[in-house]
Structures are given as structure tokens and as C-alpha cells.
Subunit: 413 residues, 2 copies
């Protein structure tokens, strides 16, 4: 009989207690060993993956789904490299954030400690299995992984190697557990494992996020949509603006920090939009009447378009009367991810940075830089668009919490 | 027709956009004015409160409930003082937490910004109305207050004065709104105001917390139970241990940082427990067989007792074989609030601090110190026992989040 979800959770919880007191060198050793095992046993992993891919092909999976599911030697090598990079990053656990002494002599430290058990619910990319488990292990957390049924055989193979590396390093295997029951009721049960799951991170589309919002009773961090804007101000360098808009939209359109919407100040619309039209011949444009007057090929845009994260070579465009118009548009349609202004006007830059409410606001730079690696923070487990705990790229540090350590000599109140 | 909850929320959201860019001096001015108004209009507030108290008396409220509900001139003065103290605290908004430059020249700042709209659901203490709104205003947040029906008339009177102070300070009145529909369906609707409520903080008992866990789809911070332990180690100074246990249990038994459970190392049980028995004559003791052999008046203790936050002059007591026994007991029964060890053994102190998973661990000090004021952090909106965002006393800083501000000169990827 397979273990119940609660059994798995209790095992992970016990493992988390051990990990919380494990030295960095031991955790790093396990990560490097897991990387080696992935490369040595690549054939086992690819064999398992072939089963998943074969099953998916029979069930009319789309080419995009198949691509996300499929592993090859290069992708497995990238998974191994990911683990090595995480091993090379500094360990946030034990870091003293602040410390002070009170008038009564009490000494207080705020110290980073692991969260405990981190639950990850994700869709069909098997590389998330090792990426997420690696980040959690480095930050001293046990991981409960709940992938999709389509990737179950692949995930089982990867998790088996990770657990082998843990055991060989003298760490509890249950620091990484795979939830094999991929049914909806089991997912809902998982989201309700209070006292076991200290933090649940869903990685997937809007319907997964919605399920988590509705059913989770454990604390969650949501990696939300990126409906990102670039605003070209009246005082913009239009050459720079063009480079930034083209980069933000086209360099990798399928990711959350790609731009989905362009706002152009009325004063520069006539000079800028025809150049945009030319530079973005491969991009479908949707525009308001002022845009369409200057770019005849643009289709009419709706509020729904303005609210949509296209994740494709498609851009909604609006002309705004002024900076306030841009700020208001972003407040209405933005998802709080990454918002850029292109301007040489100091006041405009400062007002935009102050008045736009997002994880990141950028002045004269592409939204594509909002990323853990580009920020210099190392590998990320996602980009949070919520405000609590983590906002923006979530790396190792966001997988920790604080503990207050108070030293006295018998003080009482 | 009264405004719908969504209307109120949209008004608060608009107000929050203004507050986010409001200077500290203006926010402080509004807080001081609100304090003055509370004192000048104390008769209005007490008159309103008398209505609530009269109604509660007719509906068989308990003496404790009536005490929590009742205001008098002293309590109103304390509310005013609370606002003045918050005005005197440093403003966390605008604080640059970190800043760095990337190899490509991008400059990144992490800056504290308000959360936006903070929802507070609370039970019948009308002073929470001004305390919570004051902390939220200082930290640049709009507040949606949803008190209990029993305190509705009092809350209306207090909110009217707060809004008057806002308006006189040139700030939007809707920075503080009162949700007057205190029905359960309205509470559930409130917990689901996605896109409006940026953070919901319930202040109340276990059933309120449970409702929030089950129904909230907006981000929450839970101010949980405090099932706090004191562990008297083999190497404890027993005089100090006695002072700490008596203080932690009896100085104010009804609060969350009071001790509920005592763990005593077997080696010192015989020397310590009879002294405890004498020193705690006014406290009801529940003990395991080893305790009862030394303290005959102790009643038998159950696992349920060990899991209970008594909030009364009642203490569960267990003898443990060693430090690990204490750590395991706390892992099983603790609520992650505040846990203390009394010891002169350095290794024991370090292991306890490392292995006990709680918002605060204390060495040779009373659990009663785990409090925003005692920590020197100023007024608190609660003590978080969750791990995400805030853990331990939650003050102004915990009512903010971060924004990344990125400056470039046209960088693209």
C-alpha cells in the first residue's frame, strides 16, 4: 500500500528537522552528488521520460506540451548544472540579519532559518523536480513535490536519484518526497496539510493558481502572471525606446517578464509609432484609435486585450495623454510584475517609480531583466507578484524565514 | 443604500494610491490630529460605546466580553496615546534595504513600500479600531476594518473621528473605511476581495483563524496561538528558573506570550518541582506521573492539555529525560510562538536555539518579553506564528513590502 499523503508529510517534517541543523558543506555535497548521479544515470532518466512522452503522444498532447515534457541528454545535463550552481551559491541559513541589545540587557538576534517543509505543485516540466528540490535542499528545507500525472515516471526517476544522493551524504532520504497521487482530491488534501507544509509554491497556469487560492489553507507564495508594460514618455530617447520595446516584447515572448503592452505619450506618438510598426513587422499589434491612425495594420484593442498576458508575438498599444494616464492604465491592467518607463525627464522617472505598484519598476531598461539571474540573486524558484514575504525574483533567501534568538541572564517582567 | 463591500474596497484602493506617495510629516499630522479628536470627543465615543454595552448586557454577554467591549475615559486616552506613539516611530516607507550594481551597469534598489489595502477582521475590542488604523496609516496603507457587530456603534464613532482627521490633513477619508455588514457571508466576501485587499490580518480566536484559513483567497498574516514552554535544564540555576517560570506563567496569564507548559529535566525534577509547587500555590498544575510523585496536588495531564493554550492560571508540567526530550515535546505540542530554556550549559543553549522551531527562542529570560514593545520595535499589530513575511512581533515594518527600482541607460538583453 502506498504511503498516505499525511505519512509522506510526517516523514518530510522529520527530515526537515534534521536539515535545519545540517551544515552547508554537507548540503552542498549532496547537491553535487545528485548532479553527478543525474549525468551518470542519464539513460535511466531518459528511459523513464520516454514512457511519459509515449503516453502523452497517445493522449493528443499538443506539441508545446510534448516539448515541455521531453528530456534529452542536454536537458538532463542542464538539470545537473543547475544543482551545481545552487551548490556554489551562498547559504542563507544562519545569516544574522539584525541584532541589538535592549535597555534591560536582553540581546536579540534575527537569524535566517529554513521554512521547514516546502510543497511544490507544478505542471509537466520534469526539470522543475530537480531545480526546486535543489533550491529547497540548499536552503535547509524538505520538499514535497507534486508534479503532473503526465510526468510521473520521469519525476519518479529524478527523485530516486536525488534521494540516493541524500542517503549517500548521510542525510534523510525523506528530505525529498514525491507525491505520486496526482488526482484533484489529493491536490486539495496537499494544500490543506496544516502543521506539515510550511509553504506551498504552485508553479503553473492561472487555473492552478486559482485552485490554490480557493483551496489552500497552508501558507502560499504565488508566482503570478506578468502583464508587463513599457511606457514611452514625452521625454524619451526614441532610439532607446525602440530598442527597449523590441527587446522586451520579442527577445523571449513566452516568459512572464516579456512586455505585453506599450503605452506612448501623445506628444511622441507620431514620431514613434510608425518606427515601431516597421521594427515590429513580425509582431501582431492591437491598438486604440490614436494608434490605428498612425499604424493602420493594428487591429482594434479591447479592455480584455489590455488585461491579457499574451505570451506571444502580440502587443497591445495605447496612446496616453501624460504620465498620469500611463500610471492609471498600469494600475488598472497591470499584474504587479515589471513595469518600465523610457524617459530622460527626472521628475517623470521619479513619479513613475513612486506611483506604479509592482514588484519591479525600471527606468530606461528592458522588463526582461527582472529575473533572479539577471538581478545577480542566483537561481530562482519563481517570480512573486504577491506582496507578502517575497516580491519579485524568489531565490534561496525567499525560501527561509527568521527566528528571534533572545539571550538574557534571568530577566523577568 | 449602503455602499457594497466592493465599492468600499475600491474607495480604499484609491486612497491607498494617494497614501503611498504621502510624506511622513503629513501622515504624522493626521495621527496626532486623530489623537486630539479622540480626547476632545471622548463623550461622543463613550456615548456610542454605552449603546453597544447596553445591547451586550441584554444579550447575556459574559463579564469578560463586556470588559473587552467597554470603553472609559482612561481607555480612550490610551487609544489617543497609542496614535501619538505611532506618530513618533520612524516611518519604514522609503527605506532602502539594499542596493547594488550589476556588471551591465543596471543599478537595483530594494525599497520598502506600503502593502496597499490592509484588511483587519477583529473581535469586540473597540481600541483595535484606532490601533490598527494608526499603524496602517503610518505605514502608508489604507485600512478596511471589520469589527464585530457587538462593537459596531463604538467602531463607527472612532472611525468617524479618524476620517475627520484624515480629511483635515488633506488626505482621503477612505484611507480608513469601516465594513458595517458584520454578517458571516460579508466576512467571507471580504476574505475574497482579490485585487483589493493586499493583506488580511485577522485578530481573534481560533474559530476566526480557522474561518480565514478556509475561506480567504487574499494573502493573510495569522496572529496565532501561543502555547509557550519553559524548559528547565539539568544545568539550570534553579532560583533563576523559578523566577522565570513564575513570571512567564503568572505575570499576565491571559496573553499569548505567557507560558502554558513547563518541562523539567529529570535530574533536577526532585530539587525543582517541590519549590515550584510552593511558589505557584495560586496556579492549577497538571502533571505526568513523575511530576505527580513530587507534587501530589497536580492533576493528571493529557495530550490535549499539553496542546492547550490555557490563558489562565493553569500550567501543564512534564519531566523529560534530556534536552532532546524537551525539543521533541515542543515540536509535538508547541505552536511556534515563544520557547524558553533555563540553563548555564552552553551546548544545551545552542542546541535548543537551533533545534526548536519558533518565532522566538529565549535563553534565561521569560517568554513574556516576546512583544513588539519589549523588543524595542514599537507598537505591534500582532505576533505572527506563521513563517512567511512576518514571524514574531509585527510592527510597522511588517506592514510594508518591497519594490525593486531598476535604473539603466537603455540596457536590453
Amino acid at each position: 500500500m502506498p504511503p498516505t499523503l499525511a505519512d509522506l508529510g510526517h516523514r518530510a517534517k522529520q527530515a526537515a528537522r534534521v536539515l535545519a541543523g545540517t551544515r552547508t558543506s554537507v548540503k552542498d555535497g549532496a547537491l553535487l552528488l545528485a548532479a553527478d548521479l543525474l549525468e551518470q544515470r542519464v539513460d535511466d532518466v531518459l528511459g523513464a521520460n520516454a514512457e511519459d512522452v509515449g503516453r502523452a503522444e497517445q493522449t493528443k498532447a499538443t506539441p508545446a506540451q510534448l516539448d515541455r515534457l521531453r528530456l534529452d541528454a542536454g536537458r538532463v545535463a542542464a538539470m545537473a548544472d543547475g544543482l551545481r550552481q545552487v551548490a556554489a551559491q551562498p547559504d542563507p541559513v544562519g545569516q544574522v540579519i539584525e541584532g541589538w541589545e535592549r535597555p534591560n540587557g536582553l540581546r536579540i538576534l534575527r537569524v535566517r532559518v529554513p521554512l521547514g517543509v516546502v510543497g511544490i505543485i507544478y505542471e509537466n516540466r520534469p526539470n522543475v523536480t530537480s531545480d526546486a528540490a535543489g533550491l529547497c535542499l540548499k536552503s535547509g528545507n524538505a520538499t514535497m513535490l507534486r508534479g503532473s500525472s503526465s510526468a510521473l515516471v520521469s519525476n519518479r526517476a529524478v527523485v530516486a536519484l536525488l534521494r540516493q544522493a541524500l542517503a549517500k551524504s548521510g542525510l534523510p532520504e525523506d528530505a525529498v518526497v514525491l507525491v505520486e497521487d496526482t488526482s484533484h482530491p489529493a491536490a486539495v488534501e496537499f494544500m490543506g496539510l496544516q502543521g506539515i507544509v510550511d509553504c506551498l509554491i504552485p508553479r503553473g497556469g492561472p487555473s492552478l493558481l486559482d485552485t490554490v487560492r480557493r483551496h489552500a489553507t497552508v501558507p502560499t507564495i504565488l508566482d503570478g502572471d506578468g502583464n508587463c508594460h513599457v511606457y514611452v514618455d514625452a521625454a524619451a530617447d526614441l532610439d532607446m525606446a525602440l530598442r527597449i520595446v523590441v527587446n522586451a516584447k520579442t527577445q523571449r515572448p513566452g516568459v512572464c517578464n516579456a512586455a505585453e503592452s506599450l503605452l506612448v505619450h501623445r506628444q511622441v506618438a507620431e514620431a514613434f509609432l510608425p518606427r515601431l510598426d516597421q521594427a515590429m513587422a513580425q509582431v501582431e499589434l492591437l491598438g486604440d484609435p490614436a494608434v490605428r491612425a498612425l499604424v493602420p495594420r493594428a487591429e482594434p484593442v479591447t479592455d480584455e486585450d489590455f488585461a491579457t498576458e499574451f505570451l506571444a508575438l502580440k502587443l497591445s498599444v495605447a496612446v496616453v495623454d501624460d504620465l498620469q494616464g500611463a500610471v492609471d492604465h498600469i494600475a488598472r491592467f497591470g499584474s504587479g510584475h515589471s513595469e518600465a518607463i523610457v524617459t530622460n525627464d527626472l521628475t517623470a522617472a521619479e513619479r513613475f517609480c513612486r506611483d506604479v505598484d509592482a514588484a519591479a519598476v525600471l527606468v530606461n531598461a528592458s522588463t526582461r531583466f527582472v529575473d533572479g539571474g539577471e538581478f545577480g540573486l542566483g537561481a530562482e524558484i519563481g517570480i512573486s507578484t504577491q506582496k507578502l514575504h517575497a516580491r519579485g525574483p524568489m531565490g534561496l533567501r525567499e525560501l527561509t524565514c527568521v527566528k528571534h534568538i533572545v539571550h538574557g541572564e534571568g530577566q523577568t517582567r
